[in-house]
């Protein structure tokens, strides 16, 4: 059971990576990066989970408890991905304020033009 669930979450990671590389719009790249991060976290939790796990809370209960360690680690990486996202959105905002376009190629050409124009 866990094999299927983790393979599907890996497929979502692959989809996110394809979007990240092929999309020309900077914001779409950020969205697909967000997809990659969320599905990697999902993969981490799913790969160690078994059928019918119980939440690792409280003492009693017969069913097998889910492994608490990946859940504790994943909490940290959710916050990390949020931090990365907030900063990259901030930087995109600064770029769009200057260049009025979200297309990565146009941004790259005008960045190189600005760098050459600005005398040392």
């Amino acid at each position: 059971m866990t094999l299927f669930t983790s393979t599907i979450s890996i497929l979502v990671v692959g989809l996110g990576i394809i979007g990240l590389i092929l999309k020309k719009n900077v914001l779409m790249k950020l969205l697909s990066l967000n997809i990659v991060n969320t599905s990697t976290i999902l993969f981490f939790v799913l790969i160690v989970s078994e059928q019918g796990d119980r939440a690792p809370i409280g003492s009693s209960g017969l069913a097998r408890m889910a492994d608490p360690l990946p859940q504790a680690l994943v909490l940290t990486s959710i916050v990390i991905n949020f931090g990365v996202l907030a900063l990259s959105l901030l930087f995109t905002m600064v770029l769009v304020k200057r260049y009025h376009t979200l297309d990565i190629d146009k941004i790259e050409t005008s960045v190189k033009r600005d760098y050459k124009e600005e005398s040392p």
Binding site: F4, T5, I8, S9, L11, V12, L15, G16, I18, G19, K23, N25, L27, M28, L31, S32, N34, I35, T38, S39, I41, L42, V45, L46, S49, D53, R54, A55, P56, I57, M65, A66, Q71, A72, V74, L75, I78, V79, F82, L85, A86, L89, M93, R98, Y99, H100, T101, L102, D103
Partner: protein, 280 residues
Amino acid sequence: MILFFLFLLLVLAGAVLIQKRLLNAVILLGVFSLTSSMIYFLVGAPDVAVTEGAIGVAFVTFIYVLALSDQGKLHVVTEEIPPFFYQDKGRIQGIEYEILQQLADQLSLDLEVEFVKHSDLPSQISSRRTEIIAGAFYKEYLPASGLNITLPFHQASLAKIVDTQIENAPIGTLTDLDVTDIKEIDAERISRFNALEDLMSAYNKEKISGFISDSARMSIALNQITTQKRKTSEISQVSDINYTFAIPSSEVELTDKLNELLENLTKTGQLEKILDRYLR
């Protein structure tokens, strides 16, 4: 049960990537995080479900929507002036509209047009929402400072129609025309009208002996003159004007993008085709 949500996840990820509008993509991303939070709950990880729900669904979507709330719009402020920019049966048409639409597609933005009366055009420039001012705009048209003038897209002339019989009545013109610097008309004999219709009605009732207007409106004005008036009035060239767009000087990037577009439109001859469709 989990497999259903996982396939939903796959479909949502694909949907996010295919979206054309960014706002839809962001909302779908929110749903994507919500499904993943649901899966966490089913797998027995409530802690992660709550955190993913709080941060992944609510906060991230808020930030995206806030940053995007005015996503990618090109604001155009214009006066309704056929054949340049006018609404016909709910559909916006006109020479300038087609040019700006091509610019918007190039910048992958949506064109948002705001029709406004001539009097509050200066106030529009000050409010920082406008990016382009259109509507048969030419240099003498609006002495507002802080405007970049783009390349002209259409040469035309300022024409004057005079009714030979009436001598002493003042010359009428539209309020927006800045005709003070044209030599042969002395300033005080000009009466200003703020709309084309009452200028024409004044001319038909001989309140004014003639009027000056740019050639674009001249073509509309001509068919409003009553037939017997047409016999006694003749048209004379006053000075040539070229129609351009005006962009607030802070938007340097936008100005040279528009100039670029105008250049290759004239080169490819598309501009001529648009002008033919509307003017000739």
